[in-house]
Subunit: 208 residues, 2 copies
């Protein structure tokens, strides 16, 4: 394993850090949205956007007219942050409260994908992350739609994860008759809601 | 209403932007975690952290030993991003897929809260955001815990929201026999799980 560069080493709870690709990939594949941070005129900006991981890269897309996309595609250094919250950790004191979370931070510069078949592949990965197995069912993508959309890729080379799991570790207060434990949080997909335009069209098998 | 500064005006879908405090507050009060972005040595950083809004400010806290807290408390310009995802918008084409979301972006510089009673108030707001009505039940906070924790406040003066709701607006493909609509997403709290240290201690009323 390569040495971990200092900007990937957390100053707090370094034991929570993880650099193995399986841990990082699992977080990236579950989260739908990341936050892209960059600096313009010495001012920090942070923009949420959908993304997909494929092999060793993260892909985002946006309109060719998007200010944010046009700025970062010049090759600005970026930091991408992804966070999943799994539970509220309720201790016997306010001080020891915490959150169980899984997060990834990634540093890099964007690589603009210009090759049309490769762009279309990225659209398929993105679409099927949000709606698995749906690509072949949809109206096929058009050349002008590909042209109107920028795709940027970011290498996972400088990615790291940070994970907290488990209970409070509230040992100093263990004899107090105050309840402690966790409140798990769950994000789930509810039943699809048909819009008026699609009244009478059956749900496709991949959405049942 | 004051004129909207250019960095708060989205380049895409300006109709989705909202600047009224009620819209902004509702998003900030529902989200548990924000992403704090800042620039160090021309490199962008993005760190997720819990936060609470109280009146016209956002409050975050962290260990006095945290590298990130020690850097930004010097008065670095920051950008805070908060995102809630409400639904996946499934169109008849991949191109028109979208996400219903509510997001807030805020620019500012941190104000360090030094006053001890004011710091304790901020801890109470933070704690009761995550676990409502729990403060008086917990082991009281200690002076050294207050001393070991930095509290930073950020004004909402330069905050803006961006919201997408509704269906696809898939008019160009409306005659295609392809299903479209939304898949709502829901994040919920599950039943509290008691840890070993608290075996036999009844759940307090605010957690029932």
């Amino acid at each position: 394993m390569q040495p971990i560069p200092p900007h990937l080493t957390p100053s707090r709870y370094p034991k929570r850090a993880a650099y193995d690709r399986d841990t990082i990939n699992a977080i990236l594949d579950e989260a739908l949205v990341c936050t892209i941070s960059f600096t313009l005129d010495n001012k920090p900006f942070a923009i949420p956007t959908g993304f997909v991981r494929h092999e060793d890269k993260i892909y985002i897309h946006g309109s060719v007219g998007s200010h944010f996309i046009r700025e970062i595609e010049k090759g600005l250094p970026i930091c991408i942050s992804v966070t999943l919250i799994d539970a509220i950790v309720v201790a016997k004191s306010a001080f020891n409260h915490s959150v169980n979370y899984r997060s990834v931070i990634l540093f890099g510069t964007p690589e603009k994908i210009e090759d049309v078949p490769q762009k279309i592949e990225a659209f398929r990965w993105l679409t099927e992350k949000f709606v698995p197995n749906s690509w072949d069912y949809l109206r096929p993508i058009r050349e002008n739609e590909v042209r109107k959309t920028t795709v940027l890729a970011f290498s996972l080379d400088e990615a790291s994860a940070k994970v907290r799991t488990g209970m409070t570790g509230d040992d100093e207060d263990k004899d107090l008759p105050v309840w402690s434990g966790i409140i798990p949080l769950e994000t789930r997909r509810l039943a699809p809601v048909t819009e008026d335009l699609s009244e009478g069209i059956p749900l496709p098998p991949h959405l049942l």
